[in-house]
């Protein structure tokens, strides 16, 4: 019996996203991937939980139904869950979009229900990011952290604990290279390349 040509474990899109075939993406039309994102197996993204309340009238454009937007070079490790947060807004319940910047790493089995995650953020494994948390740029969240709902984490912080507390600061002017996920991006996919020495 002739075997069908072996398919890779990942679907690679034109914009360089690598999405595992075993990822569970709900409501894909409402998920925006910024390009070069890696979505590992068993990741779940709830794009079906879209905003129902009209957004602030200033935009005035067509209804934007993006539920989850993630930037370039994001890395969602195995079993991560991205879930738009929901709350009562002007008397009705609505989900709100979850926005993630570039070079965001989300560790294994972490649940993210934040409102905003900035650029160059490292979230460890088995974390919980509570609803409507706001994480600014260049933040490191250590493994097992429980970020409570509505917490705002300033730039260059290191947080840990249950519930999360600020435990340190990243050195100002330190290199962003520690957060760069380009090499990690290249090391997965259908033709993974070994990391540079």
């Amino acid at each position: 019996m002739s075997r069908r040509q072996a398919k890779g474990d990942y679907i690679e899109t034109d914009s360089g996203n690598k999405v595992s075939r075993k990822a569970m993406l709900q409501g894909t039309q409402n998920i925006m991937l910024g390009g070069k994102a890696v979505i590992q197996p068993e990741v779940m993204i709830r794009g079906d939980l879209v905003r129902t309340a009209p957004s602030s009238s200033s935009s005035g454009g067509p209804a934007n139904s993006t539920a989850v937007a993630i930037g370039r070079y994001c890395f969602l490790a195995r079993g991560a869950l991205l879930r738009p947060p929901g709350r009562i807004y002007k008397g009705t319940f609505t989900y709100m979009p979850l926005r993630m910047g570039d070079h965001v790493f989300v560790g294994q089995s972490t649940v993210v229900q934040a409102a905003t995650v900035g650029n160059y953020v490292h979230i460890g494994r088995d974390c919980t990011i509570g609803e409507f948390a706001i994480i600014k740029d260049c933040v490191r969240i250590l493994d097992g952290t429980i970020v409570p709902p509505h917490m705002v984490i300033p730039s260059f912080s290191i947080v840990a604990g249950q519930p999360a507390r600020l435990i340190g600061e990243l050195p100002e002017g330190g290199s962003l290279e520690d957060f760069e996920l380009r090499d990690l991006y290249k090391s997965v996919g259908n033709n993974p390349q070994p990391p540079p020495p």
């Binding site: 019996m1 779940m44 869950l81 649940v111 919980t128 249950q162």
Partner: protein
């Protein structure tokens, strides 16, 4: 192309199909998983999210009115956990119970009473009795057999205090609004489980 090379479903392999007793106003998507051989009863206006897992292998499961069971929640024994089949007993969830993503409720006569909020990734141990309007914060553990009085908050992995905010009625109204919005977003397919 022969059927053997067909793409395998990534849905968890279903064990025995349990007898179900569904309310007509239930929302349950087809990629939820119901297994076991005792009965599973789900009452009116409850919303089950995709990939929630309910297992009745060790006893019947009763889910009350207006509950929300989120994705990856595990009610009943985890797949592969067949160590304690001898100790049987089911799970009873009261009305207005929220079980968030990745939370586990172990079987064995476990009871979770009305208005309790089981948050992300927490665990309710075997045979525990959780009172009304409790909050189990993320990744907390309620030990097997433990009895929590009404309005208890479990936080910081083990600390307890009593919730005196008196927000029970507000919480119920908010949950009802959440259910009414969410049930429109999830395509319900209860016939798959019958």
């Amino acid at each position: 192309m022969s059927s053997s090379s067909k793409r395998q479903s990534i849905a968890p392999s279903s064990g025995p199909k349990p007898p179900v007793n569904f309310s007509s106003s239930l929302t349950i998507p087809k990629d939820a998983s119901l297994t076991g051989h005792h009965s599973i009863t789900i009452l009116a206006e409850t919303v089950i999210h995709p990939r929630a897992r309910i297992d009745s292998a060790q006893g019947s499961v009763l889910i009350g009115r207006r509950c929300v069971i989120q994705e990856r929640a595990q009610l009943g024994a985890a797949p592969g956990d067949r160590t304690s089949l001898s100790s049987t007993g089911g799970i009873t969830l009261g009305d207005y119970v929220i079980v968030e993503a990745g939370a586990t409720i172990e079987p064995g006569g476990t009871e979770v009473s009305e208005g309790t909020f089981v948050q992300v990734g927490s665990t309710i141990g075997r045979g525990a009795k959780v009172g009304k309007n409790c909050t189990i914060t993320p990744k907390s553990v309620v030990r097997p057999g433990e009895v929590l009085p009404d309005n208890t908050v479990v936080f910081s992995n083990g600390q307890r205090r009593t919730d005196r905010r008196r927000v029970i009625d507000v919480r119920k109204v908010a949950l009802l609004k959440q259910i009414n919005v969410t049930r429109k977003m999830i395509r319900s397919d209860p016939d798959k489980f019958r």
